[in-house]
């Protein structure tokens, strides 16, 4: 697995409250991620929203004190911790929790170590959230046909000739389209993790 798990550059930028772009990206990635996880743990939608709101406001106030640690995944461990605290708060303040299934699932999750190297459920969802976010951004930057050519062949596993026929394009064109999408996906995902800067060709804008 050589994909980045955490986003130091973005996280560093979050300390600037006026960096709208960074905060927007943060919300775009972590809102759906937390929503998904909390619902999986059995929280109802309203409770999940409440926890998410609490987590975000805690991040906003605490981000200045957060110091990026060297190892990958530090930020998501930190965020998992905040989420855990906020869920504890919710459960403490809410009598109905101990009896619901959400409570027991949640307790199980509480006992997991978020910093462990294994891809826990949290990590898996974190990964997925970053890729979804990146996909959304890349999709806006290419023609619908280019995206479709990539998605159908690379993700949905349809054959080249099948897709070429469906989109009435050449198979060779699909190879280029795939490469274009994958390149931009990689750029966008690594933008979140400040991978070692790669060689860049001459600027393609003017």
């Amino acid at each position: 697995m050589n994909t980045p798990l955490t986003r130091p550059s973005l996280i560093a930028r979050l300390t600037d409250r006026d960096d709208a772009e960074a905060w927007e990206a943060f919300h775009a990635i972590y809102q759906p991620l937390l929503e998904r996880l909390l619902r999986q743990w059995g929280l109802q939608s309203a409770d999940a929203s409440e926890v998410i709101q609490e987590v975000f406001s805690a991040v906003t106030t605490a981000i200045e004190k957060y110091e990026a640690r060297d190892h990958q995944g530090a930020f998501r461990g930190w965020l998992a911790q905040i989420t855990r605290h906020k869920m504890v708060d919710l459960i403490k303040s809410n009598q109905r929790f101990p009896s619901t299934s959400g409570g027991s699932d949640f307790l199980r999750w509480l006992n997991e170590q978020p910093a462990s190297e294994s891809l826990s459920r949290w990590d898996i969802e974190h990964h997925r959230a970053i890729f979804r976010w990146a996909a959304e951004r890349v999709r806006k930057r290419v023609q619908p046909q280019t995206w479709e050519a990539f998605f159908r062949t690379a993700v949905q596993g349809q054959t080249m000739s099948e897709v070429a026929q469906a989109l009435s394009v050449d198979v060779g064109w699909i190879y280029v389209a795939r490469s274009r999408v994958l390149t931009r996906l990689r750029e966008t995902v690594s933008e979140t993790a400040e991978l070692t800067s790669e060689w860049r060709g001459p600027s393609d804008e003017m």
Partner: protein, 496 residues
């Protein structure tokens, strides 16, 4: 066809999706395993491909309903069929390699001049240029005039295809970014870079003004910054007029950004070179702050501000800028053309002064840093030595007769007056004399060391603030003396 990795790189990295017409190229890709591997490698290799497809597995294909940028919907049908399948198409004698971008006037292509064997940038004009014969003639006239400006800070125009459909301009290909992109990415620029860019742009504008040509559209997006940021080029000279007239004919509105327009331009009055000076002022303001001086949500409001409002004071937004530069911007932004700098000489003079002010400030900065550093080190050394010195002095004094009349450190320090600072000039006359003396015995060694330390301490008290070089010399000498004295003290002490 043969494999061409560079072309593949371009196809993958260019902003626009490749057109589907290059049948030969795609047929080649379909059968050539090597080129397909290259495409996979360009995108990050098979591992990345697997990663991406894994993590996107449960993504609904209908996730995004948002519209793609209109850039990607660009129609390249006007291109003639390519001479080689490696290219996107052909215009005249130019093979089109890729699409560089799109501006208000049309799209910019990267091409290759087959006759002169060089890379070129080709600006192909948007359809409104061809709306009427009059528009076409106007374009031809303006483009020819622009081509006549030969200056190192103006993008050279190689060729004008005024009669082609659509018309196009062939320019030198300059790899790099626009000033707009540069500031968007980096934020406000450092003062020395602002001076460098301003001076080049002013020279380029003046060269055009000398030919009675007004740029009319000086803005960051029309300034190309070379890859090492040392050089900048102005582009789209004079074309704004033809473009505006063409647009006005068509839509009756002003298109493009009004942020850099002069007041007279906003009022639709006749223009001369001084209008460009105003726009240059806006541009310098933008480089310094990251935002144009006049900004509002609507075009009309911007024009209104340009005509009547004062921008936020640059000196407050960028207190680090040299005064002469701030002053120059204020003069460039004068509402009345006759209040702006008269010519390049005036602009250049201000820039030179600003440059001097920057180097002057750096000098002060360096002096301060140096002085603090030196004083800090010296104090630390002397604190240590001072303890030794005082202690050993009294030990030595008790054992030494009065014939060794050495100065007493404490009274001397107390009696020290600013009017009578320790005078190193005696040392200056023969600075090495003390070092060259044959080694005295331990006692006088120690006394000598003490003297040196007392000198050093006093030299701090006697600093003449107006004579920095002397101070530095004194510090250095005192440090050297102190370092020579140190072993003596230790030796004597231990020996006893």
């Amino acid at each position: 066809m043969k494999c061409n990795p560079q072309l593949l790189w371009t196809l993958v990295h260019q902003n626009l999706d490749p057109p589907q017409r290059s049948k030969k190229l795609f047929a080649h890709l379909e059968t050539c395993g090597r080129c397909r591997d290259t495409l996979v490698e360009l995108a990050g290799g098979t591992v990345w491909e697997k990663d991406a497809s894994h993590w996107l597995e449960d993504l609904d294909s209908g996730l995004a309903e948002s519209q793609p940028d209109d850039l990607s919907l660009l129609d390249l049908r006007f291109l003639e069929p390519p001479a080689h399948p490696e290219f996107l198409g052909r215009i005249g004698r130019y093979d089109i390699e890729s699409v560089l971008g799109r501006g208000g006037m049309g799209i910019v292509l990267r091409g290759f001049d087959t006759e002169l064997q060089r890379a070129v940038a080709i600006k192909v004009l948007a359809p409104e240029w061809t709306a009427s014969d009059a528009a076409r003639r106007r374009f031809a006239r303006e483009a020819q005039a622009a081509a006549s400006v030969a200056h190192e800070s103006v993008v050279p125009i190689y060729n004008v295809g005024a009669d082609a459909s659509p018309p196009y301009i062939v320019m030198r290909y300059i790899p790099g970014v626009t000033l707009q992109q540069m500031v968007d990415r980096q934020g406000p620029l450092p003062a020395p870079l602002i001076l460098r860019i301003t001076s080049q742009l002013a020279a380029g504008l003046a060269a055009a003004h000398a030919r009675s040509l007004v740029h009319r559209d000086v803005k960051p997006a029309n300034v190309l910054v070379g890859e090492n940021t040392d050089r900048v080029w102005l582009t789209d000279f004079g074309l704004a007029r033809a473009a505006d007239e063409a647009r006005l004919t068509r839509t009756g509105t002003i298109a493009g950004t009004p942020h850099y327009m002069s007041p007279e331009q906003a009022r639709g009055e006749p223009l001369d070179g001084r209008s460009d000076w105003f726009s240059l002022g806006c541009l310098v303001y933008f480089m310094s702050t990251g935002v144009p001086p006049f900004d509002a949500p609507s075009t009309l409001a911007i024009l209104q501000q340009t005509i009547s409002a004062k921008p936020k004071p640059l000196a407050k937004l960028r207190p680090d800028l040299p005064e002469a530069l701030v002053d120059l911007v204020n003069r460039l932004l004068a509402k009345r053309p006759d209040k702006r700098p008269a010519d390049l000489v005036a602009v250049d003079g201000a820039l030179r002064l600003a440059d001097l002010q920057i180097s002057g400030r750096q000098g002060i900065m360096n002096r301060k840093v140096y002085r603090r550093l030196a004083a800090g080190i010296l104090l630390a050394v002397l604190l240590v030595l001072g303890v030794w010195s005082t202690r050993s002095y009294w030990i030595a004094n008790s054992a030494v007769s009065d014939q060794h009349a050495i100065p007493q450190p404490q009274p001397q320090l107390k009696n020290h007056q600013p009017t009578n600072p320790w005078n190193f000039e005696t040392v200056d006359e023969d600075p090495d004399a003390t070092k060259l003396q044959p080694l005295p015995d331990n006692q006088s060694n120690q006394q000598f060391a003490q003297q040196e330390i007392v000198h050093a301490i006093e030299s701090i008290a006697g600093w003449d603030n107006d004579n920095f070089d002397r101070e530095v010399q004194q510090i250095e000498m005192a440090l050297e003396a102190a370092s020579q004295a140190l072993p003596q003290l230790f030796f004597f002490d231990n020996f006893e």
